[in-house]
Symmetry: C2
Subunit: 364 residues, 2 copies
């Protein structure tokens, strides 16, 4: 990886595709974020993507993102301006020029939203994020594990309302920001987790925006070459294929701003005769094959269309779709006791310990 590269509007196509794969079923539709980021780059010029090591230790680095339920975001297209409003308000509050933009969540819509602010502000964007994937709650970032406060945080909506939070914990930030987001109609724009360059170097999951781009390129190339795409993507991710099958049942409900539910599949190909269950709370969190757990958060579960290899979000799951389910390892930071407390299966209500998927079931 080069230390500094330039990202043009066209490059966002691959990044958004890869963002949907790292979105592990959630994180919001990167398509919307892509359009907004492309518009911002056309208007303001390309974005400089930088390795986190290029930052000065005393640099001021600020992640920006969109918060809300993916189902709402798709119906309520946000403007790029509100994200700049949140960024500018936080800069004013901090009383100091921000030096670089960061990404909190390389999966889903927030793989592309930071490009909007990077383009509009002319500031470099760190190649990396705070998850290496998507997660549903804002304290679920490596930044939290490194003692970085989510606040002061600015939250803006599309109507012109803004909120500044100062909280006693990142979990409290989540609670209060979530309530505000629901009240604002289900989606809000955030600038938060102000950190130093030195903190960013320790906490960042590195190179994840480049990984998104590589995943998108791989899929695009497979389409151009008319070769089987899922295997190519799995190779880049070093992922195992844990199921191939057809969707037979979907249950969904929206609870407290989250899209929760379960999908059930019947096996095809080498999985014929087997069943598969996939649970999501925005993201895919747990997979069961023939009643046996095969993978859980924080390992990454992603689902691709069996034919096209295109990522399928939890939101887009439909009866009859033919899918392949992949699992691949999370960033090692998540395997610490603190990491498992933040995003392990028990946090999401499963009465099981986390075990790395490699030690659960061998691929059929």
């Amino acid at each position: 990886m080069t230390k500094t590269r330039t990202i043009h509007a066209a490059d966002l196509e691959d990044i958004a595709t890869g963002g949907a794969i790292l979105g592990t079923g959630g994180g919001g539709d990167p398509y919307i974020g892509k359009l907004m980021a492309q518009e911002a780059i056309r208007k303001h010029g390309p974005v400089t993507l930088v390795d986190v090591d290029t930052l000065a230790d005393d640099a001021l680095v600020v992640p920006v993102c969109m918060m809300g339920a993916p189902t709402v975001m798709a119906e309520k297209l946000p403007q790029g301006d509100e994200l700049m409003n949140a960024f500018s308000a936080l800069q004013k509050l901090l009383g100091r020029k921000i030096d670089a933009i960061h990404c909190c969540e390389a999966g889903g819509i927030n793989s592309t939203t930071p490009f909007i602010v990077a383009a509009a502000s002319g500031l470099p964007l760190v190649d990396g994020d705070g998850m290496g994937r998507a997660y549903p709650e804002l304290q679920m970032v490596t930044f939290t594990m490194h003692g970085i406060s989510a606040t002061p945080m600015v939250l803006c909506d599309d109507k012109g309302n803004s909120i500044v939070l100062e909280t006693v914990s990142n979990k409290w930030t989540e609670k209060l920001a979530r309530a505000a987001t629901v009240e604002m109609g289900g989606a809000a724009l955030l600038a938060f987790y102000p950190m130093t360059g030195a903190q960013a170097k320790k906490a960042t999951v590195r190179g994840t925006l480049s990984l998104c781009e590589k995943l998108g390129q791989t899929l695009r190339q497979a389409h151009a070459d008319h070769v089987e795409p899922v295997g190519r993507v799995a190779e880049v991710l070093r992922a195992d294929t844990i199921f191939s099958g057809r969707v037979t049942d979907i249950e969904r409900r929206t609870v407290g701003g989250f899209a929760r539910g379960t999908a059930r599949l019947e096996g095809l190909d080498e999985f014929r005769g087997q069943t598969f269950r996939l649970d999501f709370q925005n993201e895919f969190l747990m997979a069961e094959r023939d009643g046996e757990i095969v993978a859980t958060t924080p390992d990454l579960l992603t689902v691709l269309d069996s034919e096209t290899g295109n990522p399928v979000t939890a939101d887009a799951l439909r009866y009859g779709l033919r899918l392949k389910a992949l699992v691949f390892p999370c960033d090692p930071q998540w395997l610490s006791p603190q990491g498992i407390d933040l995003v392990g299966p028990r946090y999401f209500g499963y009465d099981i310990d986390y075990r790395p998927y490699q030690f659960r079931a061998t691929p059929a």
Copy 2:
């Protein structure tokens, strides 16, 4: 009324009693606010209560209050410190020294909470408020009718969390602050509606803290003199007694942070054989006698114990209590079309126009 008086800890007794009467059944228990204000006065010295006309036109005046459901407040005794935190944070945000404290709601707990900040800051407190009573939502103040924005507003909780709101309307402030208050456990401390002295002179419902004190004194004197107390209070308020009876039924529910419900009474004395219904959403909003509406918001409905004359909140209504219901006219500002839009019966879901109670039914 003198232009400037000194309020000592002992004076809070009468003010709190009167605050419960103007609380019209809601506004939270003034007892808690009284204890906090007395403690603050003992610690920091007495409070100077001033007529709003003593303020310079360019003075910076800030109301402070507590927000939440009365039922929660009674179980979750707040500390005075959080109110000072909200006040200090707003002063810092405004970048200018605040010159005087204001009261937004002379009914219920918020008749006494401003004394906490006035004592601790050493600033004068305006003798008046933004309602002349209690109301359940924060945009329901005369300040709103005079175009004064509720924001910037600071909201603090007992855990150390704080929120700054900047909204596009006072109704939006209510929505977002209410959601935050619910999330914070049901009660929060606010500094908001920063206004100039000139604005305060136009918008304030005048003399209401002195009125609270007079009501408390009247009741105390009636007890000392062993005379019938309800009539004395009614005389001070120029109130009509619209019912006397015994509680036969109470329905309650907590909805979105509000204590809602209905009480039913059977008549005694000159109302024997008649029935009475009293609806509340924190405050008493509508009274029906024998199925006919006799009074609605914004006119003030208050309920006193038939024997002691002590005010009874909606929260304290119990089967078998013997009560007298009084009605008295609201501040004329509420009778404007804007005022009726903000707090008239239709806002609270009643499909009826407001009519002054004097034109509805003659007292039996």
